[in-house]
């Protein structure tokens, strides 16, 4: 049985060798089809995992409300430069959010961009004022020392926790523990802990926490105040912002839709006129992303299928030519006792071998291609073994499906006519 199958496959290979160039060209159609299927699935999978990781970092059970400078006044600095522009979230609102969502953890966040110095090392980055719960809600880990506590907050201590990247920049050679960092040239903060690096680049609009310094919320308010003055090109702009961000962590992802509704209702009342607060719901984004990725994947699958279809038509074309050329061989085989099913089998195997060879080389190319996409386009790609198997399986199936009609035609030739064929 196995010997017979092998014999049929070998026969198929021998017959294909009769027309090496033709067989190779036909195979190329399937080859590129399979390679593109694998590459596209790898790109799709990579993008999916990347998106998943990004939203996981933001926290799938989190709601994020962030203050935003209103658009209409953002560019016009002509009006009274000394009157501070007030916008964004307030402490009172944060308390209200906390009261409306009793099961949630609410974290208040203030930000200020300041130069930081330690010895000769200098870096301008964001000083984040926040509460102890930040660590859990933002899904970060302490690498060394400890994070901020309520006691630090109450005592208005000048202590700080450094983001992993910032710690490396300011303390390239020594241990930062209990050392002092100078902020804005005169504020001294004692380092009590260092966070583990998240490693991933944060998405647009979110703060790169790896490069931030974290201090107690009350200390932040005391040191930097609510009014922020920035100087750009000789003109001042003054902004009054109480809180830059409020993160809300809900107990589970089922609470996200209702929590998001409550939060939006609440903030809409306060900030309807000038939409100066943006609510981000990572779970919603994740779902949107998944939906659009799904559409994207469908489009990719359709394109890949078309290329395989074209390859299949090529195979059918070549098999029809082969059957015509070898009419006489078919007649001989029939005379020597071959039943119709034997003839069908022979040509189906030949078509299958043709496309499986293309599939095999296509798998090779399909594995190399995503690697090159990653190197050249910096797009994460993931090759799943089941995708490779799927692509190869489809290629073999294409051969069989498109070989069916030529094989059927071969089998149904009249043996007498076939033998007489020149």
């Amino acid at each position: 049985m196995i010997r017979d199958s092998w014999r049929i496959i070998r026969l198929g290979l021998k017959s294909l060798m009769l027309h090496k160039l033709r067989s190779t060209l036909t195979t190329a159609g399937i080859l590129f089809g399979v390679a593109s299927v694998i590459a596209m699935l790898a790109v799709g999978e990579g993008a999916k995992v990347e998106a998943l990781e990004r939203f996981k970092d933001m926290g799938v059970t989190n709601l994020i409300a962030r203050s935003k400078k209103p658009a209409e006044t953002a560019s016009s600095s002509s009006q009274s430069a000394w009157k501070a522009l007030a916008y964004g979230l307030s402490y009172a609102e944060a308390d209200l959010i906390e009261a409306s969502l009793p099961t949630a953890q609410v974290v208040r966040i203030r930000e200020a961009k300041r130069p930081m110095m330690r010895g000769e090392n200098f870096h301008t980055s964001i000083v984040v004022g926040t509460e102890p719960e930040f660590l859990e809600v933002a899904n970060m880990r302490v690498r060394e020392g400890r994070f901020l506590t309520d006691v630090d907050d109450q005592r208005l201590d000048n202590v700080c926790v450094l983001g992993g990247t910032l710690a490396r920049l300011l303390f390239p050679l020594d241990n930062p523990a209990d050392q002092t960092v100078l902020v804005s040239g005169n504020d001294r903060y004692r380092v009590i802990g260092v966070l583990a690096e998240q490693g991933r680049t944060a998405g647009a609009g979110s703060t790169p926490y790896d490069e931030c310094m974290f201090i107690p919320l009350k200390t932040h308010r005391r040191r930097f105040g609510d009014v922020n003055t920035t100087r750009s090109g000789g003109s001042f702009s003054r902004e009054r912002v109480e809180l830059y961000e409020v993160k809300v962590k809900l107990p589970s992802s089922e609470d996200v839709p209702s929590g998001a509704r409550i939060l939006r209702d609440l903030l809409d009342k306060q900030h309807k006129e000038n939409s100066d607060v943006i609510v981000t719901v990572p779970l919603e984004l994740l779902k949107q992303e998944e939906e659009s990725k799904r559409m994207f994947n469908i489009v990719l699958a359709v394109i890949a299928s078309i290329s395989l279809l074209v390859g299949g038509i090529g195979i059918m074309n070549v098999m029809l030519a082969t059957v015509t050329e070898r009419t006489r061989e078919i007649g001989i085989r029939r005379a020597l006792g071959a039943k119709k099913k034997h003839i069908v089998q022979q040509f189906l195997v030949e078509a299958g071998v043709l496309s499986a060879l293309g599939g095999l080389v296509g798998v090779g190319l399909g594995i190399v291609l995503p690697y090159m996409i990653t190197v050249w386009f910096e797009q994460k790609t993931i090759i799943m073994p089941q995708h490779v198997m799927l692509a190869f399986g489809i290629s073999a199936m294409v051969g069989v499906v498109f070989g069916l009609y030529p094989a059927w035609r071969a089998a149904n030739m009249d043996p007498v006519d076939a033998l007489r064929h020149e």
């Binding site: 010997r3 017979d4 014999r7 026969l11 021998k14 017959s15 060798m17 009769l18 006489r328 061989e329 007649g331 001989i332 085989r333 029939r334 005379a335 020597l336 006792g337 071959a338 039943k339 119709k340 099913k341 034997h342 043996p415 007498v416 033998l419």
Partner: protein, 243 residues
Amino acid sequence: MGDDRDIIAEFVDVHRHYRMGDNTVRALNGVSMQVKKGDYLTIMGRSGSGKSTMLNLLGCLDRPTSGEYRIGGRDVSKLDDDALSSVRGREIGFIFQSFNLIPQLSVLENLEVPLFYQGRVGPESRRKAEYLAERVGLGQRLDHKPLELSGGQQQRVAIARALMNDPLFLLADEATGNLDSNTEKEILDLFDDLRPDGVTIVMVTHNPAVAERADRTLWLKDGEVDRLVENERAATAATEADA
């Protein structure tokens, strides 16, 4: 005829009519004949006499419109395609004018084709192929491709292939038509040589010199049996045997 050898192939009032538009062509019109074990029969006739139709029917490549065709006592005239294929594969050994070897296969593989379709390929079929290749004088060339052989050698391979399945009879269609006269003689000698093994031969030809070497010649005319001639050579051989 009066001898009691087994009848291995028999036509009983066989008709084969084709429809060509509104006309009916009566290619065979009530042919009855018998082939007995060990026979060497040639079928002759002008073109259009029904030779080819007769060959197709004898070879189970075609079915009669009416009448019976018995092979080994079994009526095969109404069998379906698969069953006819089996009969061809088991009972008949085809030899063609243009050898009809499969070009991409080696001599050995060509020899194994008939047994392959009966699922009988294995060490035994290889031994048999080697034996028959030896028997037809081609022992050393099992790994060659057909096109590397001369016409005579190719026809020897074809004869060996026809014998692979131990058929009831060999059915030859102008077996020497593509060969020069020397090679023709060699092939006809080979047929003579095979006969003591109990091989039965039916050959369709239009060459009287070829027909002469058979025991009997069946003459066809307009789709009917014109006459059945006992050849001289055969007659003398028979007398010698009696004496």
